[in-house]
């Protein structure tokens, strides 16, 4: 059983660039992410609605591919601007000859490098603040990622509020809430309308009254061995529910927690190999 069946994507919205890449493989909110029926998972609806298997089948909204954001940019050469940038951020742009040869990709990378330089120059007055520089650079690049891949717009509050939040922003808050627990690292977080019909037609922009309704969350975590799995799932679920209500104000009807790996005591940062064969 492959615990990490989905290919990771560098630069997922909502992640800081210095976070380990060896936590559960993550996808952007717009990636395909079919639920693995056989994976080691412990999840429950809020309120409880059944087992993982029937829950997954009854709530296929998270399996549905979210429509691409309206502003997905294709360069004249056919490459996605976001993919070109992500290759650069991952240090892989030199591995693809096209990126060096193509004038459009080269120009896009030059613009990104100029942005990076501008941020660094803005902090050059205080060279001793290397930590602050890295943090600021990371935050700017986070914002670029959020703009490139915001994910679907999810309803906030009541219909009369006509307020929305992009999936990437909410997912980041939920991941942070989970990671407020000791030795817990959050990976992929998908949020979608509970109603599959709404989820299928959801888009990247604020919708109308028909697009509103409660949402469901699917969050992957890894945690230390000290956690009993049921207690871990309950604790993560409680933190996410608290963040949803108290910090954001989004109506979350279901929270599925998938424990995709456990961490050795000597490996609290999650830098070890992911286990094949299930949870321990």
């Amino acid at each position: 059983m492959a615990l990490n069946a989905h290919s990771g994507r560098p630069g997922e919205p909502g992640r800081t660039p210095d976070e380990p890449a060896t936590t559960p493989d993550e996808e952007s909110p717009t990636d395909d992410n079919a639920l693995d029926e056989s994976s080691a998972a412990t999840e429950r609806a809020v309120p409880e609605t059944g087992t993982r298997e029937n829950g997954a089948r009854e709530n296929g909204a998270l399996d549905a591919r979210a429509p691409e954001a309206d502003d997905e940019e294709l360069l004249p050469c056919g490459r996605e601007l976001s993919a070109v940038w992500e290759a650069w951020e991952a240090g892989e742009s030199g591995l693809d000859p096209h990126l060096a040869d193509c004038p459009h990709c080269s120009a896009a990378l030059a613009d990104l490098a100029a942005l990076d330089d501008a941020v660094r120059e803005a902090r050059a007055d205080d060279p001793s603040d290397a930590t602050g520089l890295a943090e600021l650079t990371g935050r700017v690049m986070d914002m670029v990622r959020l703009e490139l891949r915001p994910g679907r717009s999810l309803p906030l509050g009541a219909p009369e509020d006509d307020a929305w939040i992009v999936e990437a922003a909410a997912a980041r808050a939920f991941r942070a809430a989970a990671e407020s627990l000791p030795s817990v690292r959050a990976g992929s977080c998908r949020i979608a309308p509970l109603d599959p019909a709404v989820a299928r037609r959801g888009g990247g922009a604020a919708g109308g009254p028909a697009d509103r309704g409660p949402v469901q969350v699917r969050l992957e975590v890894v945690a230390g061995l000290q956690w009993p799995l049921p207690e871990l799932a309950e604790s993560v679920r409680a933190r996410v529910a608290e963040a949803a209500e108290d910090a954001i104000g989004i109506d979350v009807a279901r929270i599925d927690v998938l424990i995709v790996d456990v961490l050795d005591e000597e490996d609290p940062a999650g830098s070890g190999e992911h286990q094949e064969g299930g949870h321990r």
Partner: protein, 120 residues
């Protein structure tokens, strides 16, 4: 500049300012991608997206093809120190008031949507 465009610009300025001043708003969507796209388009000899610099977080468009009905979409980054929903409600109220100051006709209609694109 025609009347509709003039009203559109005035609404953009007034509502952006009102949103920025609202407690819990870190900043409006900065539009970094739009700026880079415009730069890339310029290098490639293509027209840009037309997004006005400094107004990436505000989208104003006329509804029903006329200057008396408007959709104002505010895209912002909220602060973690404030409940996100409460921030959007405050922004909505502030933007509606600012739009009301620009639109003097009693029959004018405005839909205000607030989209949170980040939390810092």
């Amino acid at each position: 500049m025609n009347t509709e465009r003039k009203i559109q610009d005035e609404l953009s300025l007034a509502t952006a300012d009102a949103a920025r001043r609202t407690a819990g708003v870190a900043f409006l969507r900065p539009g970094i991608v739009d700026r880079l796209r415009a730069s890339a388009a310029s290098r490639a000899g293509r027209p840009g997206t037309g997004t006005a610099a400094g107004h990436a977080g505000v989208r104003v468009r006329a509804l029903d093809g006329g200057p008396d009905a408007w959709h104002i979409d505010i895209q912002l980054v909220a602060r973690t120190s404030h409940r996100t929903l409460d921030v959007t409600r405050a922004v909505r109220a502030a933007v509606a008031a600012a739009a009301g100051d620009v639109l003097s006709e009693p029959g004018d209609r405005v839909r205000v949507t607030v989209t949170v694109v980040g939390i810092v």
